[in-house]
Symmetry: C2
Subunit: 277 residues, 2 copies
Amino acid sequence: MNRSELVSLIFSKRSFLCIGLDTDLTKIPRHLLDLEDPVFEFNKAIIDATHDLTVAYKPNFAFYECNGTNGWGSLTKTIQYINQAYPEQLYTIADAKRGDIGNTSQQYARAMFDASSSGMNFDAVTVAPYMGEDSVKPFLTYPGKWIIVLALTSNKGAEDFQFFNNNGNRLFEQVLTTSQRWGTDENLMYVVGATKAEMLADVRKIVPNHFLLVPGVGAQGGSLQEVAKYGLTKECGLIVNSSRNIIYASSGHDFAEKARAEALKMQQEMSALLILQ
Amino acid sequence: MNRSELVSLIFSKRSFLCIGLDTDLTKIPRHLLDLEDPVFEFNKAIIDATHDLTVAYKPNFAFYECNGTNGWGSLTKTIQYINQAYPEQLYTIADAKRGDIGNTSQQYARAMFDASSSGMNFDAVTVAPYMGEDSVKPFLTYPGKWIIVLALTSNKGAEDFQFFNNNGNRLFEQVLTTSQRWGTDENLMYVVGATKAEMLADVRKIVPNHFLLVPGVGAQGGSLQEVAKYGLTKECGLIVNSSRNIIYASSGHDFAEKARAEALKMQQEMSALLILQ
């Protein structure tokens, strides 16, 4: 999905919501556990209940890998289901935080983007910048695909290195500056945590047009209003993720319905913010 | 496997070799492609031919993930085979370069270390430091398990951020310093690339006793003699990885035999270096 298609999707759905599929066997409704693939069935129900309110889904790979080969199967079925049931209606993010030397990142790129190799075909993958240019460039050789580079994350540990300072230039700012040489605002986004919303103003000085993927609204304490205040652009420029608040809104038989109600609250709030643009 | 067991293994095998299982369907001998799981069969043959010459194996996850669910199956069978066929004789490294917020890294830790969850039980996992303390600490809650933190990598892109400089203190040095608060030399190692062997002297000033996992010898151009000169300690303190030079020594029916010959060359060179200690 290219940038103009993504922007169209956002304004037609009046939403810049991403739903994080951090699907945990210990948290999904117990009645699903009797099914052959409870994780996939949970995801499918969540997707069917929320696909018109969200522009993106973001499976978090850790929650599938912990179930081994079966988990990787649930993940594959989930991305295949989204692409088959709702073609061109959803932007899909492999939240995998990959990054390695060039010949290895080439293989990760095949895993995320090449269905003929891995069975999976995501629009975007999250990548860690520590290993530099050749660790992320192989992902950019796929037309229409995106990388989402970790810049300023939402967790406490972000302070350990992301604020490492070279004459007033912090590491996350250097990542924003250097990585712009690797791609464009048509194939490169950044992760910027909602828990540090006021810092979005600093981020926007360096990347005024790039899309930002913003985790941390909701369970982690970030505020949507604050994020929009500092991060929203004329073309929206934001994808705001919510995981636990939506997908675990209920642990009963009404889990999908309650997830829809939470997604709808966020979509309505987002719709109002987009009108102000 | 704890540190003293690892050190014993190194001195009894007179080897500090790690064989990287970067197993690529396009590079393995063609006669294996008719088998049900060519990747696993290749790995098994390499392991059977080299297990007494190497102290560690390091499957590179990208090379399995690119084959989707089947690839994850080959990976699982490989680690299970090592643990069952050669118990307590080999140190196993999940080369996965993971790292995410705490509740996500908990799930990655289950994937790498908890066979009852994922079917896989590695001794160690490589982790990326960018997200800081809470992104790596969940891996350290498993007794006897290790994290191997990226410090100074062997690729060209390492220069993009790892040398980012705060008053003479470079980012990779800050990673070495800060991360020592997270664990000890009993459960924490560092990745330091062989292509920057002379920098091992700088690394050893900060971490004199920690084990270092050194990629980049061989195909990437690093020298074993140089690595040993700057990195070897009384307890060895080094695990040197070689992947392509060993596993792709031949693409014919004699691939395992030729892999053994290459591994033997390295083991003999290592044996001579260990005696000098």
